[in-house]
Amino acid sequence: MKFSKVAAMFGCTVLLFTSIVGCSSGNNKEKAESVPGNEQSSKPMELEAWVSNEQIKSDAYFFQEIEKAFDVKINVEMRGTGAQDYIDKLNVQISSGDVPDWINDQAITVNMFDNYVKQGVLAEIPVDMIKENMPNYMEWVQKYDNIFQGSAFSLFQRDGKNYTIPVAYPDLAQFCVMYYRQDWLDGIGAKVPETLPELEEVLVKFKDKYNAGYLGITSDPTWAFSPIYGAYGIYPGMWTEKDGKIVRGEVEPQMKDALTLLNKWYKMGLIDPEWVTLDFDRAINKVVSSKVGVTWQNIYAGQEETGAYAPLKNIDAQAEWAQALGPKGPNGDSGIMQFNPIPGVGIMFGKHMEKDPEKMKKYLQIFDQVNTDMSWLEKRAYGEEGTHFKKENGEYAWLSPYDKPDERQKVGIVPEIRFPSLESPFYDTEKETLLTFPTNVEREYKQNAQAAASGKYDILALFPKPKWEEVSEKLTTLTNKAIIDFISGKRPISEFDDYVAEWKKQGGDKALQEAQNIYDTAFKK
């Protein structure tokens, strides 16, 4: 009796004790990190970097080089396997009070940015501090003035304070092209279509001979048929400029013509009927298994070995892709949607960095160097010259055994390191082309591919649009449903004007006005 009583008491106290210990040990980690730079100068500064592959640690080659060159210590964190994952984890972290040193992802919209500013999550980054500590960056901003148009540091200013280091990817403006199965074109004896009627002919023959049709690589109705919309001069799903006015493609009169044509094609069986249900990965699967003859994608997809369409070659060795401009419509318009070369709000710092200006300066200096200097860019992409790669006649090649991805993973030379992003956020077209397309053959590929990329992008992406944000979700749902129904024929195309009226009534009118005001203020100086 007594023994069991003692055992029970002992058991309870142990339980109690462990639960108390378990609660407290979590706090110490936080305290150690937030002590500002009052350590002795012999202790190196601790900086954060993040990776999207948990195998990469701070012993990766790139991080080692940075630690040596700048006398810092890099703490590597695995912050999610992709953009959405990163943002989800970021928001969770922020809401528990643990704001990272720096934040950077293209998928962070200006709306999220404004929320962060309002909620006091971000540190002010004085423009003078940037000018002092990032000389290379300032040169780069000057070089791409056609993109920034002198407004680099005013775009993301709020209440007179600057909160980001703006970034840009000039290649994004010429990013998406048509993809035609060249081997199938040869098979039916046709050349690459240049007009809509020619495209229709090709699709009919593809259907007869190969039982495959057109598939846009997204299930978003405003984007899936971008080349067709572009042929009528409109770009649904984004804010574009037309004859000095800001328009929203989906409610433009030409949309009715585009939808009529798409409805006709859908009835003829030229459009893959599953387009609505397929997400990006499954669409790529369809393309790679030869179930699609005509599609559109970014220029990287057709790259041999690394492109998204590369697996097609393994399945069908005859497969070839032709890249081309979008087809021309009745008025000679053509185009495929592109992306704003300023894809995101830029690099931000957490609020606690305001208390540690020395650390912030260090980040600025290092970001400046490793993202603009060619030798550093090479280190990130290829490792050490002579050990991991060699450079011959301006072309890059892996040295054995680093031509195997597994070996590269062991030393940490993988495209999953973000410091502060995968490739340089201060993207220099010349430098990056050399690195991403390491051989002259590939460089030619890129040049040809880019020549076929043309179209408009969302020019208001970076401006806060509060009226639009209020109704965007509603209008998007309305638009998507309408487009799907018009194309499938469930709703007669004669009701298009009703749809436009509904769209405007639900708040679209106010949003259009707001957009026009923003455009007039920002662009008509």
Binding site: C12, I94, V121
Partner: protein, 300 residues
Amino acid sequence: MATKSFKNYLPLFFMLIPGIIYFVLFCYVPMLGIVIAFKDYHLMEGIADSPWVGMKYFNQLFSDPYFYTVLKNTLLISLMKLFFGFPMPILFAVLLNEIRLAKFKRFVQTASYLPHFISWIALAGILESILSLDGTVNSIFAFIGLDPIMFLSEPGYFRAVLVISDIWKEFGWGAIIYFAAIAGVDNSLHEAAAIDGATRLQRIRYITLPGIAFMVVIMLILSMANILNAGFDQIFNLYNSAVMEVSDIVDTYMYRVGIQQVQYSLSTALGIFKSVVALVLIVVTNRLAKKLDSDYSTLW
């Protein structure tokens, strides 16, 4: 006498303490956070310093006409799942109980609750594959000579897909508790009935079913609490623009709006709304159950 028994049970109280601390710390204290719904929550200022806005977010919710579409979808899908899905585990448990061969019985039972452990992300991929135009189902249709149906993009079929796949996934797991209840029915009743000449079906109807009635009632009351959870995981992974109008539920709508605008206060307001509805439903169902037959054990 009270103190005497208290002293005896002291070790038991001590053992309770860690559990109580856990519940207080992680379940009750966070409940105070619901005040976020009545404030304009600013992350860095914390809950205490964020300004009060009263019913602003509730008004925002209720004045949005789309909210009612979404609410209607939630209730419809939930009720469909309840109506068709609630009897399934009971039926399955009762029928399987009649099987004599123990090994077969156990095998079937284990196989039946395996789908419960598959996440909807994996299951959605499988479903998309099976229900696609060249998937299993449509291939069978083609073989018989029927036209293919795009189950996942036809609003008319989509809800059926949701309900059927959810029932398939959960009926095995739900049956476990009924197996336990059936095992609790006194065997001597069955023997007596068999001696009196009752058939299998009569035995099920007059002994087994009444024997597990108490469990059925409790499970029904509990499932009332989930009326506004129509299955976010499942719907989020399966829906698309074509079927949005019939499958958009409160949670998916909130996810989209919440992600776009990082609206903590709005989401909390919605959470409170759901909890209040669930509470009211549980209490009402509980009262009803008591009224029907005071012998039923109920929650209160």
